[in-house]
Symmetry: C2
Subunit: 132 residues, 2 copies
DNA sequence: ACTGAATATGCTGGAAGGGGAATATTCCCT
DNA sequence: AGGGAATATTCCCCTTCCAGCATATTCAGT
């Protein structure tokens, strides 16, 4: 992955917030729409942008499209996903996003314990259980 | 400094190479032109771009314009200036730039020891001596 | 005032990026 | 086949950005 390309992906608020959530594990599109409270079209475009540039990987499971970091161990990406959240006033609402995502995962986890139909693709559901 | 703004500055090869050299201390424009082997106009524009966005600071000394990192301790900037150079194939010729800069500094240092007229503004000259 | 070195600005064209709105596609279920 | 949920695409407009070229500005020395 080209270094410049990676920085271009980081240089947009929507993409930055998406990457911040993917730090915590794979997710499907509808979760971004809810956790970031953003237009679906906008999310889809930015997801595609990063997939096109090799930063994200995607795979389909039924109705859902599961997105993940193409290379979670990439040194520069990794270091940024950690450092950017520590900035006191970055102007990006990372904490709020993470809070809403936690609620979503909790909801999925609760539904699974009750034996309901899956509310999320298996990869995402697995990460929900892992956090409980 | 806005986080997104900083990433935009990193998302261009010329700017990235400029920042990499500034990591080693303040420099004036003509040194970039030589060390990066790039057009003077291009360099000047990118320096101005980063100054306009608060990433660089500049001050004039005689004919020279001395550029420096506005906030060398900025966590995200700092971490990137370190991490990006460690990528085996980033596609950016950091090492070659640093090599040419070392030659320039050596030349300045040698001229100073012979008591010649200064070949560089004081802030730059000081950093040349510091490395010997 | 003139020169040369260092630096900055102006202009044009083209490419890429992002917002908004509407629409299309893919898939599962019945 | 039809419907609904999730996701993707298209089109238009606007702004930013970058390259290339020419030119302008600033400053020290003479």
């Amino acid at each position: 992955m080209e270094l410049i390309t990676l920085y271009k992906c980081l240089a947009d608020e929507a993409r930055l917030r998406i990457l911040n959530l993917l730090r915590l594990g794979p997710l499907c599109g509808c979760h971004f729409v809810e956790a970031l409270a953003m237009d679906q079209v906008k999310i889809s475009k930015q997801l595609n942008y990063m997939k096109r540039h090799g930063v994200l990987a995607a795979e389909r499971e039924a109705n859902w499209m599961i997105y993940r970091l193409a290379d979670p161990e990439h040194p520069v990406l990794k270091v940024n996903l950690l450092a950017m959240r520590t900035l006191p006033s970055s102007g990006v609402p990372f904490a709020a996003d993470e809070g809403r995502l936690a609620e979503i995962k909790q909801r999925i986890s609760a539904a699974m314990e009750e034996g309901c139909q899956p509310l999320a693709p298996s990869a995402v559901a697995a990460s929900c259980c892992a956090t409980h």
